[in-house]
């Protein structure tokens, strides 16, 4: 069990380090979180879904 735990912890730490390095590299190379968010919302039409949800919640609140 401890051996499995060591393997998992090692993989997790390596993944964390690589993720941190990737994020650092993205920021260094001019990445922008707002731009990624705009693309994501535009791609999956998130804004219309949120408005529909809010209107639904308002009707439920009025009833």
């Amino acid at each position: 069990m401890s051996k499995v735990w060591k393997v998992i912890s090692t993989v997790a730490i390596v993944a964390l380090i690589l993720g941190a390095l990737c994020i650092l590299a993205g920021f260094v190379t001019g990445g922008d979180v707002q731009r990624v968010k705009d693309v994501f919302f535009a791609s999956y039409d998130i804004e219309n879904k949120i408005n529909a949800l809010r209107s639904a919640m308002g009707i439920m609140a009025l009833n």
Partner: protein, 377 residues
Amino acid sequence: MAELSKLLAFMFKEDKEDILAQYNKMLDEADDEQALLDSFGSPTKLAVTISRTYKRSERKLAVEADSKEDKPAEPEHIIVTPVKKEKPAEKPAEVNTGLSYADIIEEIRREKAAEEGVEYKPMFFNEPEQPAPEPEQPETETAEEPEQTAAAEAPEEDAPETAETESEPEEAEAEEETAGEAEAEETPAEEETENGEENAEETGAEEATVVEPAEADQPEEETKAEEEAAEAGETETEPAEDSYAPELVFEELESIEIPEETTRYKTNVALLILYLIFAIPISAVLIVLALAVAVVLVALGVSLITIGVEAIGFAFAKLVIFADIMLCAGAVLIAFAVALILLWIGVLVLVRGISGIVRGAKALGRSFCVKEVPDNE
């Protein structure tokens, strides 16, 4: 005597003391003490002779039987045994020259048994290969041979019946002559015994000097063989005696029983029932909680992995800037790492949490309800 006492360590204490006392008595009563000592030979040889005829196992059985019956100590078993002597031609014509020491002891013991009115039991083996006395030396013949035969045939015969050799020296000579004549006629040993008994009863004497059949009765070859056997017995007896004392010590040590400290568990049933009333619901709740935590953790991990897969697909499909793709990839890797840890923790909670709750409940119940008490209480 001191050396003989040491050499007779294999015998029971009372037997040994009895024999030593009788030898001392013989020495005190002897006219020529040195000659008697010479006739005894070396203490080792004497001890070998006694050891060859001593029935230690039967004596032990007799002692056990006596102790069970709670009877007073009975006289020891004595069976007449002739002892080898030096060549009679070289020996002085002393009364005790050809004596068998065991015979003398036996006579004294038989006498004592007759006086005390108790049953006489022989102490020594009666060697079966007793040579028939030859008529060449009738003057040394005694009632010894009939006595030996009688002892062999009926070793537990009463002392008055077998006290055929109790006579005055002159009468003993007459007996010897009678026995010698009987042997010269090659009569059976039983007849000789009867003759000896009749003569002894007629005389009614209390004491007699017992003269054993001379060594010349036996062939010289047998004499030499016996001497060699006795000498060999010396070397065999000494280590046996040396090993006897440690053997006794070990027997005593083995007989000591060390009491084992055993414990048993005593359960308080009422407390156990009370504990179960509370423990089962609490344990069930804890198990359900553990299951819920494990399921939540696993669900979070699976969700994170799913989101990460979707995110990495979105990054490579929709994003056109490499820096933005690197940001998404970094976030997905971190999400994977966290998901992996959450999954592992969820599995641990599921496996160890539930089994730990069950074991903990049992241990707690044992500590509350079961007491360890000594077995002898």
